[in-house]
């Protein structure tokens, strides 16, 4: 039985990674609003975000020497073109993953996974694009979890679709199907900090979010009725709050709270998080949170805890060294906990291309049982056009 303890972890890899990079606070972007249409990050990039991706994030080493940065930026639009109109933006995304599990053991297995193949469309209107309509539709890798939460195992589905209206540059209202506003939206959907509070790749919800920026503060209040694609009794209805405070220009500290319930379970999550910028692309991300699950079917309650510590250092433009340490204790009353850690390399050789390698070691700490360490290698290719 013990060998199957890893199955849930492995299954989590069979879906897409999100596309949010909160570590880019170290490039002077503490807020996601400049680069993403969704002010909390993830989803299609704004024209500015595409340009930052081309000139600030990606390496410039492989471009012809005769190209200046303006030329590079001019190719950052959809299919390497400069937009000729103001109202429609499109984006295509692909992420593939070579996963080598049980690395170095007799059961080592290598699998290629198409994590994401999607198209995004944005319609934008009014001065300063105050009104936006955003949608993403694409391939959904089969998930063993989907059925258990009342979702049909569809191969294509909407990732998000919502309407956003900025009442002013400081405040905006967003209504539709989108990610919940909670915690640090790190790109690894397998992160315990995303998995335990249920804010990972298949946890989008229908609802209304109000986002605000004011005098060094940024936050969002999100009321939701669950995913309408789920059967009614599984829909998690509730609300969340995420707030961050900017410190000394470069850093953010904040907290998140979320409460939701369906016919079977009540879920309350809360977390403290911070993003520290060491400038020139180097950053430290931290989140410590707790989740309380109350099962309404008298199957028992549990309080779990998770932690995330990620470091990013950028020796040269386009290249990031990643350090990742995660902690998970699904039930504080049990003696079992998991620590997952490992190094990674993220490389953007040219604009619209990300290559990433992560090595993960997972160790289960349990005073009543012993399991061997597991190593896993993930090699990821990400294209956005």
């Amino acid at each position: 039985m013990k060998k199957y303890i890893w199955l849930p972890l492995l299954m989590m890899f069979f879906s897409q990674f999100a596309q949010a990079y909160p570590q880019f606070i170290a490039h002077g972007y503490p807020s996601c609003t400049n680069c993403h249409f969704n002010p909390m990050g993830n989803g299609p990039l704004t024209d500015y975000g595409r340009s930052v991706g081309a000139d600030g994030i990606s390496s410039g080493a492989f471009y012809p020497k005769s190209w200046n940065e303006e030329k590079v930026a001019s190719l950052s639009g959809f299919l390497f073109r400069t937009p000729v109109q103001d109202h429609v933006r499109a984006q295509l995304n692909y992420r593939g993953l070579q996963m080598v599990s049980a690395l170095g053991t007799s059961t080592q297995k290598s699998t290629w996974i198409n994590m994401q193949a999607s198209g995004q469309l944005v319609l934008k209107f009014l001065k300063d694009d105050r009104l936006t309509v955003v949608g993403e539709f694409g391939y959904n890798p089969p998930s063993s979890q989907a059925k258990s939460v009342g979702q049909q195992n569809k191969y294509v589905r909407s990732r998000e679709h919502y309407v956003g209206y900025r009442i002013s540059p400081e405040i905006g209202v967003y209504a539709g199907f989108m990610d919940k506003a909670y915690g640090l939206r790190v790109s690894e959907h397998i992160a315990f900090s995303r998995f335990m509070p249920e804010v990972t790749q298949n946890d989008q919800t229908h609802g209304v979010m109000v986002h605000g920026l004011w005098n060094g503060w940024e936050g969002a209040v999100h009321g939701f009725v669950g995913s309408l694609y789920q059967e009614k009794e599984f829909r998690q209805k509730g609300g969340s709050l995420q707030v961050e405070r900017q410190l000394w220009n470069d850093h953010r500290v904040g907290g998140s709270f979320m409460y939701s319930k369906n016919d079977y379970v009540k879920l309350a999550s809360y977390a403290l998080h911070s993003r520290l910028s060491f400038n020139d692309g180097s950053a430290l991300l931290f989140e410590l949170g707790q989740t309380e699950k109350n099962s309404l079917g008298n199957k028992g309650d549990s309080v779990g805890r998770y932690g995330l510590l990620q470091t990013y250092s950028r020796p040269i433009r386009g290249l990031y060294f990643i350090g990742n340490i995660e902690y998970q204790k699904t039930d504080l009353s049990s003696s079992s906990s998991v620590v997952r850690w490992g190094p990674g390399i993220q490389y953007f050789p040219i604009q619209k291309l990300e290559l990433r390698a992560d090595l993960y070691n997972s160790r289960v700490f349990n005073s009543n049982a012993s399991t061997i360490d597991r190593w896993m290698l993930l090699l990821q290719t990400h294209l956005w056009l």
Binding site: G28, P30, T33, V52, D55, G56, N68, E69, P169, D280
Partner: protein, 162 residues
């Protein structure tokens, strides 16, 4: 090992305790974010005379500012009209008791400016605030992201005793 010790000794010599002479400008973006434009190519002398400080002319080449992003470096230079006015200049600076006054010239426009400063032993660290529009610079915007008119800055410069 000796070479290593010698190397460590060299980098721990007195210069290691002084910050490099520099001018940093903190520019805020709208709707959110900021960047620092920094140049380490300050030219000119600050002289300490008793308790006061004087500088005839401090200059910095606009093209030497680095903002952490190459395209932004180009935009910064263009926005400050660096082809026509390649230098920013602080002239006739006189400072006493932590407050200094001088004439700041940016993009060919001269304005009086007041700064506050701290004497750090062998360096002067001065804080300055100004509005870009006072120097005839139009509001900057790139692909929907704008720049705040108000700019704060910090000058770190080694001074000489008279």
């Amino acid at each position: 090992m000796k070479i290593l010790l010698l190397f460590l000794g060299l980098i721990c010599s007195n210069n290691a305790y002084s910050a490099e002479d520099s001018l940093s400008l903190n520019v805020k973006l709208t709707p959110a974010g900021s960047f620092v434009a920094k140049s380490n190519k300050l030219k000119g002398d600050v002289v300490k005379d008793g308790t006061s400080f004087k500088a005839e002319k401090l200059t910095v080449l606009i093209s030497t500012f680095k903002t952490g992003m190459a395209l932004r470096d180009e935009h910064f230079c263009k926005h400050l009209k660096c082809e026509a006015n390649p230098k920013a200049t602080l002239s006739d600076f006189v400072g006493t008791n932590g407050v200094g006054k001088g004439i700041l010239e940016v993009a060919g426009v001269k304005k009086p400016i007041e700064v506050t400063y701290v004497d750090k032993g062998n360096q002067l660290v001065a804080q300055l605030n100004f509005k870009a529009s006072e120097f005839g610079l139009p509001p900057a915007k790139y692909l929907g992201v704008g720049v705040n008119d108000e700019v704060t800055g910090e000058v770190t410069i080694t001074f000489k005793a008279k």
